[in-house]
């Protein structure tokens, strides 16, 4: 089991908790709107030859809210500031769901901040068909259950989210949902200008990963993302029998894909 630490650093005008673990070239992970899930098997695998850097988004866990981050674009600007302060640019990034949206925003602001970018079922662009699940008008249970296609086939999901929720877990989820509501309530989990500005991203190889049965952000949002990134090298991989969390539902395939892409 790789060792990982959580440290709080004063940076970019705030106190930011950052999880670090593994060895090798730094790899930035931007977690999803429910928060950092904990050290999963895909972390374990990737940490074998990369140093994972996982900032805890302001407003989550030990990172206090930053009021000046009013939307996901400004979240991206915040992370850019952090990377510059830490001298980590250009860095590889994997962004999950809203974290993927944030990575895309960062690329529009400064595509040189990244060397390569992996977007895992990112919100931020409306799908061509269907709707992004309105996570703010459903219960936590519904939201969580909508993130995997077949819970029985995803043992790590059951480990995380199965069974009775503890009060602490309930609180953590509410806190996470509060912060994501604060910055992504309106428009509903998307930025209408993002497709336009992604066209300006050049020289940033990007791999978009999706599960075909994604019930949170429909897979029909993948093409719009790919089309928007037309001026850079972009690939799209869709896993069958997979929901919103390829990294857990198809962990081995996911890790393999990422390793090959980031090599």
């Amino acid at each position: 089991m790789a060792e990982w630490t959580e440290e709080i650093t004063h940076i970019a005008g705030t106190n930011l908790a950052i999880i670090k673990g593994g060895k090798g070239k730094p790899l930035l992970l931007l977690h999803e709107e429910l928060g950092h899930p904990g050290w999963m098997s895909y972390h374990e695998e990737l940490a074998k030859d990369r140093t994972l850097i996982i900032p805890i988004q302001p407003g989550y866990g030990k990172s206090p809210r930053v009021e000046q981050i009013r939307n996901v674009h400004e979240l991206g600007l915040f992370y850019i500031w952090v990377l510059n302060e830490m001298n980590l640019a250009p860095i590889d990034v994997i962004g999950f769901s809203l974290g993927g949206w944030a990575a895309a925003e960062m690329a529009t602001a400064n595509s040189k901040i990244f060397r390569k970018m992996v977007l895992v079922a990112p919100s931020g662009i409306k799908p061509a068909e269907g709707e992004i699940l309105d996570i703010f008008a459903v219960t936590i249970g519904t939201q969580v259950n909508a993130t995997v296609h077949d819970a029985a086939a995803a043992p790590e999901f059951r480990k995380l989210y199965g069974g009775e929720r503890t009060p602490e877990q309930f609180e953590a989820f509410e806190e996470a949902r509060t912060e994501s509501a604060r910055i992504a309530w309106d428009p509903i989990l998307n930025n209408p200008s993002l497709p336009y500005f992604l066209q300006g991203v050049k020289g940033l190889p990007t791999h978009i990963v999706w599960g075909r049965e994604d019930a949170t952000v429909p897979v029909t949002a993948a093409e719009p993302y790919k089309t928007a990134l037309k001026n850079t090298d972009v690939k799209l991989t869709i896993f069958d029998h997979c929901g919103h969390r390829p990294e857990i539902e198809k962990s081995a395939e996911f890790v393999k894909l990422v390793r090959e892409f980031l090599a």
Binding site: E131, A137, P187
Partner: protein, 460 residues
Amino acid sequence: MILMYFTERPYRDVPEDEVIKNRGFFGVPNKFFDREAGSRLYNEYLDEMVYAEDVGFDAIMLNEHHGTPFCMGAVMNVEASILARITKRARIVLLGNPLPTFKNPLRIAEELATIDCISHGRLVPGWVRGAGSEQIFNQANPAYNRERFEEAHDLILAAWTRPGPFRWEGKHFNYRYVNPWVTPYQKPHPPIMIPGVLSPETVVWCAEHRYPYLGLGTALSATAELWNIYGDTAAKEGYVAGSENFGYLQHVFVAETEEKAQELGKAHLFGGGQGAFSRPEHTLPPGYNSKEATKRLARTMTAGSGGFLGVSAEQLGRSKDKEEPSGNLQQVADSTRRRLARGEATIEEAKAAIYKSYQKAQDGLQIITGTPKTVIPKIRRILEVLRPGVFGIFQSQGPVSLEDRMTSIRLLGEEVLPAVREIGKELGILDPFERLPGSRPYTTGTQREQLISLDALRAS
């Protein structure tokens, strides 16, 4: 014909000098608002409207303006709500809610639906882009004015007609759960009417939507032109426009004797009247006008027209082929105001300039004042030219007593309305409730209906 009673519900107690000093009604500091007067006036205006229904008006018209003693209907839906309950027959015509100023158009959909229900289906909701001052007052970005108007319009109609719950993700409005538990009484939705002052864009939009267009006292020749634009657009859309597609608002004040009428009629110019609605910087904030309109405006400004031309009826009423002599109402108002601003004119001089134009205003039909006998022929001229299915009568704006206002309503009801109905019948005028606007198909290549009478126009 639908005969409508309208008053701006002016705060008649505002000191005229303050309006003139301020060079416009909008922006007179609200310290001049007195609650006793306000309370009394709101209730008196409601009394007038009930009375108007009693004496035979088919409809009561309201409008909305913010932050101005010119019109107390800042939230006219308050008055509309009351009318829904205290009137029995008359239609309640709102011309109109300024859609771009609403930050929550879904609430307006609920509000109007509630009013329509309470009135058992007598609401005619109309919508406007709103004067420039409304954008400023309500912090509504003027550069997005038309977009917000159209999206709010679409959203309200969707809220009324599309079964909920549904999501709305537009450019300016997002709603995640549209499922209003009040929808209008009238199905599929209440009839919509759009008022305007000669924006061709608006006229075309109306024709495309088959909404009747109501000209707000605009000059006859210019109005006639727009009627034709509407008619042409209607033909393109595949239907025949007729009198049911048009309305017109006309100031009319009636008294028992011509002397009295002449004496009281002047009050309509109070404070500078419509021409003093708001100062230029408030009338046309940046982005409010389309590029074409700005182009037109720039040309008219540099043609020595004497000042900034807001949405005043007079100025916009200039037709292309008739060069108005300098010294029409707006120009006079503008130049005197500019001199006033520079300290080159006194308030007294400004006032004098305003009232000097009284006769001209009557000649130009901006003001119609007289006994029933003398006003009816003037109204006839308008009806012969424009043939509007809806005709609104606009009460005096100035410090006329309640009693005199009520007398005017009575005389209108007793003598003028019946005569107007006769004229309407004679001219074959139908209103939007007698014939649904847009219901008559147009066959390409055929002649479309004559919407105006050029003969009558030339004669007038």
